[in-house]
Symmetry: C2
DNA sequence: TTCTGGAAAATCGTATAGGATAAAATAACG
DNA sequence: CGTTATTTTATCCTATACGATTTTCCAGAA
């Protein structure tokens, strides 16, 4: 317990509010950045001193992360990061998406208004710009675009329930991508998380990124044309090929 | 702050563990029992003294309930119980179920094994027994059967992701039923929550309960026969007529 | 009578100490 | 040398005090 006994009274930033939320995001980021490895123990005390806050906000954040399925709690033992998706769970998740998202795309095509059209066009434009110029954090940009794109369509579909559910799936998919990258990384015989970023870029520069954008483009076009059948079909095809892009790497990683 | 300054040292129950979880369930029960009204403020301090625990477990419980969508948090104002489902949200939720559950029933019919068959038969049997003899808490029994039935099918379908998502929807539907009962209740000019139970019974004894059981029976039969097409169709029909059972009352309540 | 300003109260957010329990390491015994 | 029992450590769980912000209430002026 070597901890500064008194809070430094100098740092009197009026700290607006919602420290818990900040901590929640920070811990989440740590998980995504692989600073907290899947399956590893998460110590409340250690986290609170590292983040320089008290235990209370850390507890609240962990409780919420548990509901998100990113953290698990064993009653009197402690918290630990959730184990990563198995191949079966990945398939289950994509099956779920196949049930929901094509319908959402169909509805979006039927219900889209001018505001929605503008937003969709803007999103596709920014994605194309990002993939062209972002040579550094290309993975990051693509991943964020992917999330925004699917969320946007769920939202345009008018069914908030479905949009909410999609949000929950996304973080797990994101984590799986991380897993993939890391496994490949370990095969190479190294273990520092710094390299993860490079592997993402490699993976995405291999063409998967451009492919995904192309498929997104087809979906967006169908929705903008208000061609609901085409939108549904395009979304279905996109999710299926997306799974295929995931799967080989996943299988390789699980060997 | 009139609080006993010292914990009574007499009550030294070795309190096994997971107080947070207990509190979580207790608060949830309070919401379902209408002790905490929708939209009302939830005071941490008051709850902690009422439940005779410290604030910490209450905080954790509330954070989890927020993730469940049963409680909302306004940054520097406090927690409050979530407003009840609007008609639109109810429709959204049922649309979601229509996308997912018929597929789950179809899969269940394809994949069910002997263990699953035994469980399904047992569930239907216990439901029929319950509806016959439980004249007191019939609503409770039916509601719990409904939850178990749909969860069971999701589980037999083999897709844990979908089973998890169903779990999340169920509590909201449960709350909506409460809402309905309460609104009808207020129309009658009274306001004590004690009467809610009676209204449930009235609602369910009016025939809706028996109808639901009949539909469940058809679904179970199809699954046990491993007739996947019939199972899918039966589930679809069940959810649609279930919405119809909800909707008139909901519309009436919103007038 | 109504609106604006300030003061008081309520409540959230934060910090830290202490007790209890489970896991781990060490020592003793077979 | 292996197994069991005991001690030690680490960690969670609980309790309570303090500070900051928001809300509410009341008084005074237009």
């Amino acid at each position: 317990m070597k901890k500064k006994v008194t809070t430094p009274p100098v740092k009197r930033i009026p700290r607006r509010s919602v420290l818990s939320d900040e901590i929640y995001e920070m811990i989440k980021a740590k998980i995504f950045d692989y600073e907290i490895a899947p399956g590893s123990r998460v110590n409340i005390d250690a986290l609170s001193v590292k983040l320089e806050v008290s235990q209370t906000p850390v507890r609240e954040a962990l409780a919420r992360l548990e509901s998100d399925g990113l953290i698990e709690k064993e009653p009197l033992k402690g918290y630990k990061a959730t184990q990563l998706l198995t191949i079966k769970e990945l398939n289950d998740l994509f099956q779920f998406r196949l049930l929901v998202e094509p319908w959402a795309a169909e509805q979006a095509a039927k219900l889209i208004d001018n505001t929605g059209k503008t937003a969709l066009k803007a999103e596709m434009q920014s994605a194309k710009t990002a993939i062209k110029f972002a040579d550094e954090n290309q993975y990051q940009a693509l991943s964020e675009h992917d999330s925004r794109f699917h969320t946007l369509i769920s939202s345009i579909s008018g069914n908030q329930t479905i949009a909410d559910f999609y949000d929950r799936t996304h973080c797990h998919l994101h984590l799986f991508r991380l897993y993939m990258a890391n496994k490949l990384h370990l095969i190479d015989g190294e273990s520092r998380a710094d390299y993860v970023q490079d592997l993402f870029e490699q993976y995405y520069q291999s063409g998967s990124g451009q492919l995904a954008i192309k498929e997104h483009d087809a979906i967006a076009k169908a929705i903008l044309d208000q061609n609901s059948k085409a939108a549904k079909a395009a979304m279905h095809a996109h999710i299926e090929s997306s799974l295929k892009r995931f799967s080989p790497a996943a299988v390789a990683a699980n060997r």
